[in-house]
């Protein structure tokens, strides 16, 4: 099976005042294509730092990160941006849709930076919006949508470049239980129907329950890595 993510001996250190913080302290992890993994752990466990490095938003202090087989641990910011625009999708807790901008334009944004032709952009965007059930809202602005609708638009946005991996950072943190499970079912469907690898960061067991594999972080180490037996649907 092809590895999407392969990290060995990954560390990340910050200097905070006089103290040195070991946010990540020797992480080894592999993710195969098509996996749906939840990263769990309390705040300060290093799970968010790991997601940022995995999403090429940040660089490790030491260790190796191979993404789709290529060593990306020492790439400069432009090279990382190029990979983000073509191979990675992001879903954030706060949706992060551009205000006063239509849902369609929001979904098109990653394709703009990937240099996709204009006619292609709206076709793909509408297709992905239909997949997550918000194609009717194409002309709406974010402030005319509910939280659940906004997060679906954000998922559509993460899908348009057909990424190898979607990184979802507490995607249901701002949603109620019913909407949360709707959003999680969309992730499950995307994972199963499109085979997209999904890395979900959460501290809620209910949400992690949708994943097939649960990796637990504590104090910068991985303390648990197990197949999820009682998978939610």
């Amino acid at each position: 099976m092809e590895l999407v993510l392969n990290v060995t001996g990954l560390t990340k250190r910050y200097v905070l005042g006089d103290a040195e913080v070991h946010a990540l302290d020797g992480i080894d992890l592999t993710l195969e294509r098509g996996e749906f993994v939840a990263i769990m752990g309390p705040s300060g466990s290093g799970k968010s730092t790991f997601m940022q490095i995995a999403g090429l938003l940040d660089t490790p202090t030491s260790g190796t990160y191979r993404f789709e087989g290529d060593d990306v641990s020492r790439l400069d910011s432009d090279a990382r941006a190029a990979i983000r625009s073509r191979r990675l999708g992001f879903v954030f807790q706060a949706y992060n849709l551009l205000p006063r901008t239509s849902a369609l334009e929001n979904v098109e944004l990653p394709m703009v930076y990937a240099g996709m032709p204009e006619s292609e952009r709206s076709r793909v965007a509408l297709e992905m919006m239909a997949l997550v059930g918000v194609d009717k809202l194409a002309r709406h602005n974010p402030n005319q949508m509910s939280g659940g609708q906004q997060q679906r638009v954000a998922i559509a946005r993460s899908l348009v470049n057909d990424p190898a991996m979607i990184l979802a950072d507490e995607p249901t943190g701002a949603l109620d239980t019913k909407t949360s499970s709707e959003v999680m079912r969309i992730f499950t469907r995307v994972n199963e129907e499109r085979g997209t690898t999904i890395m979900l960061v959460t501290h809620e067991p209910d949400i992690a329950a949708y994943a097939r594999r649960i990796v637990t972080f504590r104090d910068g180490h991985i303390v648990g890595d197990a197949i999820n037996e009682k998978r939610a649907a």
Partner: protein, 405 residues
């Protein structure tokens, strides 16, 4: 990213917050409008000074008597009584000279019926109309034979006509009394309006210079000789010829000083238009300062905008925008704002110029060079003052930007 795609992104971002975009532009709009209005008025003033000076006469050279010293007191120019009509005839024969008119000036009371008016009576020759580019509104000018016979005929300026004949009707054929002598009115001059110095050029009565000498001054000398050079290039050489001729005729040998002085209007015109050009630059400078302030306004609001849009920038970076593209977008936003502001400023400036020339009746001229320059300058202001905020945006770290509250 193609420049077109960047422009689209910038326009999208700008139209998303129209009120802020408009307020950002406002400084540039006002700055450019101020430049256009002040420069238009300045240029208009310069052109009207030039026009009024050239209206004094074509290629005019003025010869006046020089200064005399009487008991140690030196009179000003024109104090000496040395110029005669014969000098004028000699000057007229010079190769560089087209025409000459003597001028005998007397300020006196003129009476017609029950009305009287103090005005400047000028004794001149028929060549005066050519030398001063003067035309007649009605009637005729006096002839050479009327000069020879010192005929009592007068041509009135428009101001004199309206003061002496307030009931309207043509004054031609009427009689005006100048210093007790009756003169019959044979013509009325075309109004010239104010001179560049603010004098009413229509407040005058023209009579033959012979009549003025005989009946008004009793002198054979004249106050000035008005000379018209053959063409504008020959003014300086004609002036030299006149000086040499008069030195010869008046038997002036060095180290004696000339008892006359020769001036031409081109040098006056140059001085006058230089003065207004200085004013124009001064005004434009003041307006340029306001343009600069407008640019600082752009920088200020763009800085605030970068802070306010930190999360947006973080997201754009997360979905794949490199710092370079973020920089280009913000720089483009600022250039677009400044340029649109410049264009709107030009429109307002032209409208303001129209209002000024309509209401204040000031002459204005649209300086096309300045219009182009101020829009270009506005765009440069956009680049210059947009760079720092754009750099700030491009330098953000995507994670910190995304977390920004």
């Amino acid at each position: 990213m193609t420049p077109r795609a960047t422009l689209r992104l910038a326009l999208q971002a700008l139209t998303r917050n129209k009120a802020r975009s408009f307020l950002t532009m406002l400084g540039i709009v006002i700055g450019v409008a101020a430049v256009i209005v002040t420069v238009s008025i300045g240029a208009g003033a310069r052109i009207s000074v030039q026009n009024s000076i050239s209206s004094l006469g074509s290629n005019l050279i003025v010869v006046q008597p020089g200064s005399v010293t009487t008991g140690g007191a030196r009179s000003g120019f024109g104090g000496a009584s040395t110029l005669t009509p014969a000098d004028g005839l000699a000057i007229a024969a010079l190769p560089g000279v087209a025409s000459v008119s003597p001028q005998v000036t007397v300020r006196t009371q003129v009476v017609a019926g029950g009305n009287n008016w103090q005005t400047t009576v000028n004794g001149v020759a028929p060549t005066y109309t050519y030398v001063r580019s003067q035309t007649l509104a009605s009637g005729r000018f006096f002839s050479q034979s009327e000069v020879a016979s010192a005929a009592k005929v007068a041509v009135l300026g428009q101001t004199v006509v309206s003061e002496l004949f307030p009931n309207g009707g043509s004054p031609i054929g009427s009689t005006v009394i100048i210093k007790g002598a009756p003169f019959s009115v044979i013509g009325v001059l075309t109004p010239l309006g104010q001179s560049a110095m603010g004098q009413d050029q229509d407040d005058t009565v023209l009579i033959p210079y012979t009549s003025a000498s005989e009946r008004l001054t009793g002198l054979t000398t004249v106050n000035a000789l008005l000379v018209s050079a053959k063409d504008s290039q020959a003014i300086d050489s004609a002036q030299d010829e006149i000086v040499r001729l008069l030195e010869q005729r008046h038997r002036i040998v060095p180290p004696q000083t000339d008892d006359f002085q020769v001036r031409n209007l081109q040098s006056i015109a140059q001085a006058a238009s230089q003065t207004s050009a200085v004013m124009e630059f001064l005004l434009a400078g003041v307006a340029a300062v306001s343009l600069l302030v407008g640019g600082i306004g752009i920088m200020n609001i763009m800085m605030v905008s970068v802070t306010e849009r930190t999360r947006e920038i973080g997201l754009r970076m997360a979905v794949g925008a490199p710092g370079r593209v973020i920089l280009q977008q913000f720089l483009t936003e600022s250039i677009v704002l400044a340029t649109i502001g410049g264009v709107i400023g030009v429109i307002f400036g032209l409208m303001g110029t129209g209002v000024v020339s309509l209401l204040a009746r000031w002459p204005t001229a649209i300086p096309v060079g300045w219009v182009v320059a101020s829009v270009a300058f506005a765009a440069m202001v956009g680049i210059f003052f947009g760079y720092a905020p754009a750099r700030k945006a491009a330098g953000l770290h995507p994670i910190e930007a995304l977390r920004f509250e």
